[in-house]
């Protein structure tokens, strides 16, 4: 079970790595924010799987903090990008 969960975490991280390609290519800021969002969710999923595979139950708090701060950073990104559009820069 622990090996399976570790493998699942690795798979999710591989998906996240593929999603990062979108940040590289993304023609607009929206694509970059989307890839960051995928990274956040994928990171949380990989973290939860890791926590169970390694039996470190205290680290679920890290996932809680990541979820909260992913929301905060995403809102900051959108606000930062929105002003880019408004400035015409």
């Amino acid at each position: 079970m622990a090996d399976f969960l570790l493998a699942a975490a690795g798979f999710v991280l591989a998906m996240v790595a593929l999603g990062l390609v979108r940040i590289l290519r993304g023609p607009g800021d929206a694509d970059r924010i989307m890839a960051a969002q995928l990274l956040g969710t994928g990171g949380i999923a990989a973290l939860l799987l890791l926590v169970e595979a390694m039996s470190v139950p205290a680290a679920v708090d890290v996932a809680l903090i990541l979820a909260l701060l992913a929301a905060f950073v995403s809102v900051a990104f959108v606000k930062g990008a929105a002003r880019t559009e408004a400035d015409g820069a």
Partner: protein, 311 residues
């Protein structure tokens, strides 16, 4: 093993991409991604306290800070792009960084087995501090002086940022004014997220005495929730000349310092706690300290005053 290798390669790849990104916004996104992956690395190394701090401060709040810097620098970005340092300077910087990395790697890989550590002594004496989490015991009891000085450093950084204000807005409101849309998506989300965030922050603070957590992580969550509410327009930053704000900022370190001085009378040294009251004293320090650090971090991200104090 394969998982660790993959994670390490991913971390290095994101780091390289962040450095070589041409646009500041892309670099900030890369930096936040890097912080998130680093939190995963810390969990993999069985260090949940460090992972908590990395996720909260290293990735979240620093990301907000860098985004604020990006917004301020946007006007000068095209001009600055024409003044990039030459190839020779960049090569010298790369060589220097590589040498530092090689030195660190050599030190870590050449450590004697088992590595010299004070962890057994921490574990042996932790009962006298009344705490169950050795990391919190180190931060608040064994090396409390370091923590006190760290909070003072934070305050000094805040003073540095406030000193960047031009004369006409001296002592004014930090950051631009955000308009709140009462029917908007952001307002709804913030009204749900901020109370939950405060609850999580209090939980992390309280659980820090026996499990990974503590006042720095809790303060960061509270600060992030306040910044979120401010970005959405639900609250506005107070002018930095307000007395109650300055008292709030100084209260934490002041209580810490006072209890430190009282340590001379109670137990014979600066910041010494008499064992029966150790937990109570640590709690008395931690509560105002959390509030002060939360306010300091929030104001650090809010930036220098931009609007005049009399409105």
């Amino acid at each position: 093993m394969a998982f660790d290798t993959g994670l390490a390669v991913l971390v290095l790849g994101v780091a390289v991409w962040t450095i070589t990104a041409r646009d500041t916004f892309a670099a900030v996104v890369g930096f936040v991604a890097f912080g998130l992956l680093l939190a995963l690395v810390w969990v993999r190394l069985a260090a949940p306290d460090v992972a908590l701090t990395e996720a909260a401060i290293g990735s979240g709040v620093t990301g907000g800070l860098l985004l604020g810097a990006h917004t301020h620098l946007r006007r000068t970005e095209t001009a600055a792009a024409g003044e990039l340092p030459g190839a020779a300077l960049r090569l010298a910087a790369a060589v220097l960084c590589a040498m530092v990395s090689a030195g660190l790697a050599a030190i870590v890989l050449l450590l004697p087995e088992p590595a010299p550590t004070l962890a057994p002594q921490v574990a042996a004496n932790i009962a006298t501090t009344g705490l169950g989490n050795p990391v919190t015991a180190v931060l608040m009891a064994y090396r409390a002086v370091d923590t006190l000085l760290e909070t003072v450093v934070l305050l000094l950084a805040l003073l540095g940022i406030w000193s960047l204000a031009p004369d006409r807005v001296w002592g004014g409101f930090p950051g631009p004014h955000h308009d709140a849309d009462p029917q908007g998506v952001l307002t709804f989300a913030a009204q749900l997220l901020v109370p939950v965030g405060i609850l999580v922050g209090v939980h992390i603070f309280w659980v820090g005495s026996v499990a990974p957590g503590g006042e720095f992580q809790a303060a960061t969550i509270l600060a992030a929730m306040w910044i979120l509410a401010a970005m959405v327009g639900l609250v506005d930053a107070p002018p930095v000349s307000r007395r109650w704000l300055r008292i709030l900022l100084v209260a934490g370190p002041a209580v810490f310092f006072a209890i430190g001085l009282a340590g001379f009378a109670m137990a014979g040294a600066f910041l010494a706690y008499p064992p029966p009251y150790a937990k109570l004293l640590i709690l008395t320090i931690e509560i105002p300290l959390t509030l002060s650090i939360a306010a300091t971090l929030a104001l650090l991200v809010a930036g220098p005053p931009e609007r005049a104090p009399q409105r």
